[in-house]
Symmetry: C2
Subunit: 433 residues, 2 copies
């Protein structure tokens, strides 16, 4: 019985490791098209910044480790170009064909450059794979570029703004839509634009870049371009094999990570995930979800029923010291999903003044008719991740604002105020319901 896994980063290796833990006798083979496996892609901006000095530091496990310690074979440089499910075979780029009994597709995602021309020039980069990171960092060292254009104001774009700015580059950030971080939240975008400006970064919203030229992007001269545009699932070989895609364009899966084809599972950035607030599949590619989905896919592929609970869309980033945490739906998203959203936005000290407490912003969004909490945003320099995670836990449990307001949260002056900012926001929101 052979389990074949396509993809050797987060989801693929989580699947392989989990399957091995369940079944010591399964033959497990992982095929990774790149040279490196098991790296923390979320660390790439910090590798470029040189906070992480060596690419090796981002690598968690080697193929050697998997072979020796887990009895899992990992082949790098092995690109699958076809899945022939009727014969239970995949074909590699070199022509080799490999049989499988169970298959986990963990092919990840890639930046979606759309109609932008000139993306293949030597001064144009992506920050999606370890190889991308190494290529960019080498270029920085060898060519010492001075002016960068970053295309895309999502997480990777903003983290790269921070990394490259700290390397001394002048930065202009282009964002095709009018909001940053893919959240339709004008206040959050305004706050971020102002924050970036204080660090000398220009932000150009609602500007779609048609072409990258050798020395400029539109009217902006530059000697380095980073494509940090939105991700699109690497799902073509799956689609060709008859694997069904969902409405989002990613692979449709059930809560056991099964695709429509028997014995084929999908996990990570190529797959959808059930959004627990909307009750509908969403495409929110994140490392945390990839790891969780991979484990579930591996368990089921190894014959144990496990369920992926779904996501609430929790994420966080830090840009020039400002933390941003988000979960659930924005007001705009909530409205589009058929809710009647109301929201409160408060500023309060994150901890006691005499413990250096700085201002933190908390926004909570709820459904006016049911009182159910739908989402939240926390920004500030202190306690951002902890607070957004409390909101995430509330969303998992479908708490109402009324219930949320009563949470017994910790208080001590080094950590909080006696009414935690989360509860202050909830008190304000309760009055609107």
């Amino acid at each position: 019985m052979r389990l074949l896994v396509i993809g050797g980063i987060a989801a693929g290796l989580s699947a392989a490791a989990r399957a091995r833990r369940i079944d010591p006798n399964l033959e497990i083979l992982v095929l990774e098209k790149g040279d490196a496996i098991s790296y923390g892609a979320c660390g790439l901006p910090y590798y470029v910044e040189d906070r992480v000095h060596s690419a090796d530091e981002l690598i968690v496990y080697t193929p050697e480790y998997f072979r020796k310690e887990r009895n899992i074979t990992v082949r790098t440089g092995a690109e699958v170009v076809e899945i022939a499910h009727a014969r239970r075979e995949v074909a590699l780029a070199g022509g080799e064909r490999i049989h499988y009994d169970r298959l986990v597709i963990a092919t990840g995602a890639r930046p979606h450059c759309g109609a932008i021309t000139g993306t293949d020039q030597p001064h144009v980069f992506r920050l999606n794979t370890l190889a991308d990171g190494i290529r960019l960092k080498t270029y920085l060292a060898e060519h010492k570029p001075r002016r960068a254009v970053i295309i895309g104001g999502g997480f990777i774009g903003l983290e790269a703004v921070d990394s490259l700015r700290r390397n001394g580059l002048g930065i202009t950030l282009f964002q095709a839509g009018k909001h940053l971080l893919r959240r339709e939240d004008a206040d959050l975008t305004n706050a971020l634009v102002g924050h970036l400006q204080r660090f000398g970064v220009k932000t150009r919203l609602s500007e779609r870049v048609p072409a990258i030229e050798a020395d400029r992007v539109g009217d902006t001269p530059c000697d380095l371009v980073l494509l940090a545009v939105g991700l699109r699932p690497n799902a073509e070989i799956a689609a060709t094999a008859g694997v069904e895609m969902g409405r989002t364009g990613a692979i449709r899966v059930d809560d056991r990570m099964q695709t429509n084809l028997g014995g084929i599972y999908a996990a990570g950035d190529c797959a959808e995930a059930m959004h627990l607030v909307t009750g509908r599949p969403a495409y929110i590619p994140l490392g945390t979800t990839a790891n969780k989905q991979g484990r579930v896919a591996g368990a089921n592929a190894a014959g144990v029923r496990e369920r992926f609970a779904g996501v609430v869309g929790t994420c966080a980033l830090s840009v020039f010291g400002l933390g941003v945490g988000m979960t659930g739906l924005s007001v705009e998203q909530a409205r589009r999903e058929g809710f009647s959203p109301v929201s409160s936005r408060i500023e309060a000290r994150a901890r006691a003044r005499y413990f250096g407490g700085k201002s933190t912003m908390v926004e909570l969004i709820a459904d006016k008719s049911s009182g159910r909490l739908l989402g939240g945003v926390v920004t500030g320099e202190q306690g951002v991740a902890g607070r957004i995670n409390v909101v995430a836990a509330a969303l998992h449990n479908r708490m109402t604002v009324d219930e949320f307001e009563r949470l017994d949260l910790a208080y001590a002056p080094p950590f909080s105020t006696v009414w935690d900012p989360l509860l202050i926001a909830a008190q304000q929101l309760v009055r609107q319901i």
Copy 2:
């Protein structure tokens, strides 16, 4: 219609303010036996440390503020010595009698010194009221004591250890029981004892102090003693008036904060609170609970039905930079409450190594038969309050460990690791269920 509130700190003033918001016409009178009102008692250790320079900085609102801005009369130095409920009257120490229609008892708590003799000497202190703090700080300045004994290893005791040590005093901490922080958790106690030792503090566990002498406590010479023993509710005048006490010795209340006597409410450190994990009333006097209970008491006293949801016992403190967060039940408590507790304890990095991530300890406790999460402890230097609050939210929602393990928590290298330490602990615990 007059609402009378006995006590002008957290619960009492929360009740008065909430009642005023609901009913602009209610006559509201607050009687406080001390000189100061509305101060943050949790800040007292930091006032003693001189991180907070002036006692005024701990005061949130003055009687003047309440009179002018809220139309609430606050009398200080007004000690109630009797409640005559049949006549709806209270008697003050000076003999004055005051009528009420509704009464909120928010008389707080005091250190319970038991049989310790010598507690009334000039070098013996408490740290319960603002007056206590001022007296201690004045003594430190005037007498420059060099060796302190602290009796009681609960929250106030440990925070005072930190404050006094930072003032240069040599410290010996006596704890009558064998555990610190009133949590039957030998590992936590050992970790704390080791941590205190690194800062030159001696801890003497399982040593009941019978007497305080002029220059020593037992075999330990000292020139200052702080009584930080457990709190006991100030409920004598309530009891004498026929207000029923619960099994814990504090005032028994329903979820609207009503006592057994019609029109009398109780809130804060003199009252019980429903513990949502055990389903039974508990006595866990904390400022957060006092504020919440006060609001509910005030609302109901003003004629609006509101419910206090109960507590899960969440608390946090920092001692010499080590944060400790706790919620729910310890293994020992859980066993005594009839659960079959299992627990996992893990150490993991609180965030990415390259963001200075330090080790954090997470313990989770669950019931083996139901899988329900019962409690948790988080210690470390980073992210302690945020993580314990996620566990607290889980306890409010009666989550199982299985559900908790699937939480969609935020990840970015400055804040966490891709598997948050909370989820690592949950993964370990799931295997035991």
